[in-house]
Symmetry: C2
Subunit: 372 residues, 2 copies
């Protein structure tokens, strides 16, 4: 993949709550820090104006990084509230569509978007295409673990209703990810359930369990929600509904606890002093639980590297998403998934329209959780 290494990463300049400003700034920061070329895809007049402003704000790093940035015009934008599949079909010139086309046509080695995540999924399915043998692409995300490691949770939102065979494929794709991206030699794959014992679980979990046991992975059986944060497994497999609820629940209680701690630390002098002393110590913990530092979720199961960044991404989050895309492209994750998935049937094939229609229901268009 020597030629591919020189290709740029296509970045949807118009997607996300803070687009195009923070996306453009993230591109410059990413180019400087990661040494990658970035193609910003969007309304070129807007993008060029933001680029000029960003470079002016940061003459030190911005000027040098500017040489690594190119712009490809895309006249249309898909909004956060639009119906993902319909919008992707209707707006052929949308920035996220053009970014995925750059990957499909071999002009970019990865695509990154912080936009409507259902639309990113649809654009990837329609243009980058599913890998042969993959029943359903899935979205994975990393959760922090008490031992300093991570648990990769898949699926966190692409498929609200799953068949057992799909969960087995999620296990295979997650294992490839854990080996290639997390450096875990023999990843332990757990099946998220409401009890550790075999026989516990929904009908889906009970049907998926023997398929995961038969798959060419290191299946360790059922795991529970609390196990996600300890050294129990490296990959946790679940349907996109449960995964999304679990991820957002974790995010919700994390934010609640940090907010409560901050509030207590403001209430009294003792709290203020203690809080001021402890605050720098808490930052690394908070950062580990923060999507900004974890960046973007790789879409697993499509024929190219596509990263879904958090809708709230700021420039730093974009750098993290570019890092995921850069690493995934270097390690050619999608090809590794393609080789391994052939061993595990995903059941009968659906066409892309059915896949996207189902994904529409599963996918939270506004801000599907997209940490990786």
């Amino acid at each position: 993949m020597a030629a591919a290494d020189t290709l740029p990463i296509a970045l949807d300049a118009m997607g996300g709550d803070n687009a195009p400003r923070d996306i453009v700034r993230g591109a410059l920061l990413g180019a400087a820090r990661l040494g990658v070329d970035v193609v910003l895809v969007g309304r070129s007049a807007d993008v060029e104006r933001e680029l000029a402003a960003a470079v002016a704000d940061d003459p030190a790093g911005g000027g040098a990084a500017r040489a690594r940035i190119s712009v490809v015009d895309a006249a249309e934008v898909i909004g956060m509230d639009e119906h993902p599949a319909a919008a992707v079909r209707a707006k052929k010139g949308a920035s996220v569509v053009v970014a995925c086309e750059l990957v499909a046509s071999g002009r970019a080695r990865a695509a990154v978007s912080a936009g409507n995540s259902g639309a990113v999924l649809a654009a990837a399915l329609f243009h980058v295409k599913r890998l042969r043998g993959v029943a359903r692409p899935a979205i994975g995300t990393s959760l922090p673990r008490s031992d300093g490691g991570s648990t990769f949770l898949v699926d966190v939102g692409a498929n609200a209703d799953c068949r057992p065979e799909w969960l087995a494929q999620f296990g295979v794709m997650g294992s490839v990810y854990a080996r290639a991206m997390m450096g875990v030699e023999s990843p332990r794959v757990g099946l998220l359930s409401n009890g550790e014992e075999p026989g516990k679980g929904s009908a889906l979990v009970q049907a998926a369990s023997p398929l995961l046991a038969a798959a060419p992975i290191r299946f360790v059986g059922n795991v529970e929600g609390k196990d996600l944060f300890h050294d129990v497994c490296d990959v946790a497999v679940t349907d996109g509904f449960t995964g999304n609820v679990a991820l957002k629940t974790a995010e919700g209680i994390g934010e609640f606890l940090f907010a409560a701690i901050s509030a207590e630390a403001r209430k009294s002098l003792q709290g203020k002093v203690g809080g001021a002393l402890l605050k720098p110590k808490l930052r690394p913990i908070r950062d580990r639980a923060d999507y900004r530092s974890t960046g973007g979720a790789l879409l697993l199961g499509v024929a190219g590297e596509v990263v879904i960044a958090h809708g709230r991404s700021d420039a730093e989050a974009i750098v993290s998403a570019l890092r995921v895309a850069h690493t995934a492209a270097q390690r050619d994750i999608h090809s590794a998934i393609g080789r391994e998935i052939a061993a595990v049937s995903g059941g009968s094939a659906d066409d892309d329209v059915a896949v996207v229609a189902a994904a529409d229901a599963g996918q939270h268009a506004h801000e599907a959780e997209t940490r990786s």
Copy 2:
């Protein structure tokens, strides 16, 4: 219910990781603090010995509280690892069975057990019986909210696979609970989903949504995992699989964050001083997230008050569980649920055997989360 007010609460002395010692001590503490009579149900020799030891340890309060405690012998015990329904059928003399029989026969006004929660559910179904019209009893639990209130999440483990009609009934039962136990006049009921917009969600969620909208409750539509910890709804309805995963995920990340904060606060002098100053301020936050202070989960939908306490319950957790049982009995929650559930069909009736068989799969026998 004047006569019922004088009845004792039946407490399974043999159930839980710390039984009978902590259960017996919890009974004494609860009797003293709450002014309730307690029947300890278990192997009478063991229970009497623990009672004597506990009174000797605490001559101040123990001696006076002792007068409120009676003992009913139950020769058998159901272990944490036993198959719930089979064990309840086979062991007619098990402590949890006898405790439920005391409620059924009008000799106790509530039953509390920290034992095998599947067995508590089975014993309640077989002996206390389902309320007429209730398709499936459910377990609810309270989660702390950033505004100081609570979100009551139901079901957290009794039913791994649900029909849409059952979720509508969970909404009705949860509303009764929120009014009677949480003092919320017009409880907002949300449907836990992977996106707020109507149309998002699994097939189950999409089918349940119109049924909840048609039910005689204040349905506010879909809510997400992160909404559970903010002032978005008072009752969140979900299937027992998703609810259990969400609850254990919240518990897991909460423990992870507090452990990480403690570890950081031990690493340096600055951290130690800051931690020492902040620690008393953090205790109330930690307590709010701790099952010991929230005590027990009321089983919704059976013809009496049955409280499932956490398997790890210590004496303080037992006091909290007794408080839930006491309040539920005073407010006659099960009768209120019986009146309101008649308005909402739960679909075709199943027999108790089918209900228990399904609950076996859903219920985590070891330590189903049982905060309320």
